[in-house]
């Protein structure tokens, strides 16, 4: 009975270790893909064939428009 409990506990610990390992590995791969993507530079030449979207935070003086897309430059 005691041996079975120990085995069950070991199985849980092992599963958790593997899960953490796999998740960690996934995170690292994801980070690597973000900071060193394998997208060819030709795929991000402008104008893009299909519209893409990015999101940014910015700031503007209170005296000017708070909608950057209303600015002629954007």
């Amino acid at each position: 009975m005691k041996k079975r409990k120990v085995n069950a506990l070991l199985a849980i610990v092992l599963s958790l270790t593997m899960l953490v390992g796999v998740t960690g590995c996934g995170k690292e791969q994801q980070l690597e893909a973000e900071i060193n993507p394998d997208t060819p530079a030709t795929e991000v030449q402008f104008p893009l064939k299909e519209t893409a979207e990015l999101s940014f935070i910015t700031s503007a003086p209170a005296t000017s428009t708070q909608e950057p897309n209303e600015r002629v430059i954007f």
Binding site: L54, I57, T58, V72
Partner: protein, 484 residues
């Protein structure tokens, strides 16, 4: 940009004066971050701590792969890449670079330019002062002929011989005391570097003490605006717009009054014959802001984000982002007109701003963000703005020959530990020094309190503060010689 790139930007925009708090709150929502921060306003400490927390990502690979415009800037000026690189070897932000001159000729070499009212000088038959004693006499004349000046020039309100905003960057009067003692005067961050490469703190120098005593004397003679120790920018400008100043301090007099009635007051020779202009720190490489734009760990298409940001570094785009450039627009004020350079290439030509304040006009249309305007772009991609050209020409004529110091303190990227320490020292040392500076100019007492002041500065850790600054200065000089 949207038409050119076919990239739509979903913006979240905060009012500038609330941006810092809002930004920090937004970045605290880990997992729900935007792709990036465009006008990021990131201090070195922000960059390092958000990088450590995994909120912002390293960019050097993206720059090398997808950013030919920024790469070209880094190749021409390797010092900018060095200045963007954190002590851990990563680049966490895209910079803002605005070159208007370089070295001693950089427009940033002096921020707090003293502008003296030439119209009043001419009316009273006075010469532009060249010594501290002569300036004092001129200010006395402004004071004693206040009624005449008010009548002659229809001035609304009382004549103010001299005004400033104490400890307020370009509005501070520190440049006047360069002629005292060793000639270092006082700088915005209170650091200076001797010609032997030793980093010093200006507010503990003997010349500083003498200069502050002299400024107090001007206060006792009723030559200084009583509001100079409490006023804010709007009050300062309001009095300027009423043409009340004989002498005031700022980056560009057109933002306070107008640049026709005033001239730059030259370096003043002090009581012992010293004549020097201490340049602003960080000015050697002209305008530079390291933390202007970052990408977050939520950005899934970093290649696209980098390529889009790289468009901001295109030689014809950067000037528009920087100065609020529009051209050929029928329904809005145009900063530029599209012209051609001598080789027939496209060139943006600055339009005449007329009587409008350059800051106000540009704020209404500029997007700022990451960009690079280089010296070699002028008259090729863009003309120099008239106000900058006016400032540069006058600065060179008035001050260049008196910029005797070899070094300024450079824009170094410290480790997070040292950034933390420096931030703490600034809280104690800088705050105390500036508090005493205002107190001594207004109320006097510097001679009596000087020794206890020096002791207190030391107790706050001045020696350690200087040794940290010295370490990074030495490393920077070493990296420069290695680049050569």
């Amino acid at each position: 940009m949207e038409e050119q790139t076919n990239v739509h930007i979903d913006w979240t925009c905060f009012v500038s004066d609330q941006f810092s708090d809002k930004k920090n709150l937004a970045l605290a929502q880990f997992g729900n971050l935007p792709d990036g921060l465009f006008n990021a306003g990131m201090s070195d400490y922000d960059l390092l701590r958000y990088a450590k927390q995994g909120i912002i990502i390293p960019l050097e690979n993206l720059i090398d792969k997808y950013m030919p415009n920024l790469q070209a800037v880094f190749e021409k000026y390797p010092e900018y890449r060095t200045m963007c690189t954190a002590p851990d070897g990563h680049i966490y932000s895209f910079p803002w670079i605005e070159q208007l001159g370089a070295g001693k000729e950089a427009i940033q070499a002096i921020g707090d330019v003293p502008y003296i009212n030439k119209k009043w000088l001419d009316y009273l038959g006075l010469e532009i002062p060249t010594t501290t004693d002569e300036l004092e006499q001129v200010l006395i004349q402004f004071r004693d002929h206040a009624d005449e000046l008010e009548k002659e020039f229809s001035i609304e309100g009382d004549v103010i011989p001299m005004s400033f905003i104490i400890n307020n960057g370009d509005q501070d009067p520190a440049i006047l005391i360069n002629g005292f003692g060793e000639g270092y005067g006082d700088t915005g961050d209170h650091f200076a570097v001797t010609d032997e490469g030793k980093v010093i703190y200006t507010t503990v120098q003997e010349g500083y003490k003498e200069g502050i005593e002299w400024l107090h004397k001007l206060v006792t003679e009723d030559l200084v605006d009583p509001e100079a120790f409490t006023q804010e920018w709007s009050t300062y400008v309001a009095k300027g717009k009423n043409h009340r100043y004989g002498l005031c301090f700022t980056w560009d007099i057109a933002n306070i009054d107008n640049n026709e009635d005033y001239v730059m007051l030259p370096a003043l020779t002090g009581p012992n014959g010293m004549r020097n202009i201490t340049r602003q720190n960080n000015s050697e490489t002209s305008g530079f802001d390291r933390g202007r734009c970052v990408l977050t760990s939520s950005c899934r298409n970093t290649a696209l984000a980098a390529a889009w940001i790289d468009q901001m570094y295109a030689p014809l785009q950067s000037p528009q982002n920087n100065w609020g450039g529009t051209y050929g627009e029928k329904d809005s004020f145009n900063i530029f007109e599209l012209s051609t350079n001598k080789d027939g290439g496209k060139m943006l030509k600055h339009m005449d701003l007329g009587t409008q304040s350059p800051v106000e006009v540009r704020e209404a249309q500029s997007v700022n963000g990451p960009l690079a305007v280089l010296n070699e772009y002028y008259d090729v991609y863009v003309t120099q703005p008239e106000d900058a050209k006016w400032r540069l020409d006058n600065m060179h004529e008035t001050y260049l020959q008196d910029m005797n110091s070899k070094y300024v303190y450079p824009n170094v990227f410290m480790s997070i530990d040292d950034t933390n320490k420096v931030s703490q020292y600034d809280t104690d040392i800088k705050k105390y020094a500036e508090q005493k500076k205002a107190d001594w100019i207004l109320n006097g007492g510097i001679e009596k309190e000087w020794d206890s002041y020096l002791k207190k500065m030391e107790q706050y850790g001045l020696s350690d503060y200087l040794s940290i600054k010295q370490k990074y200065f030495d490393e920077y000089q070493k990296s420069l010689s290695e680049e050569k």
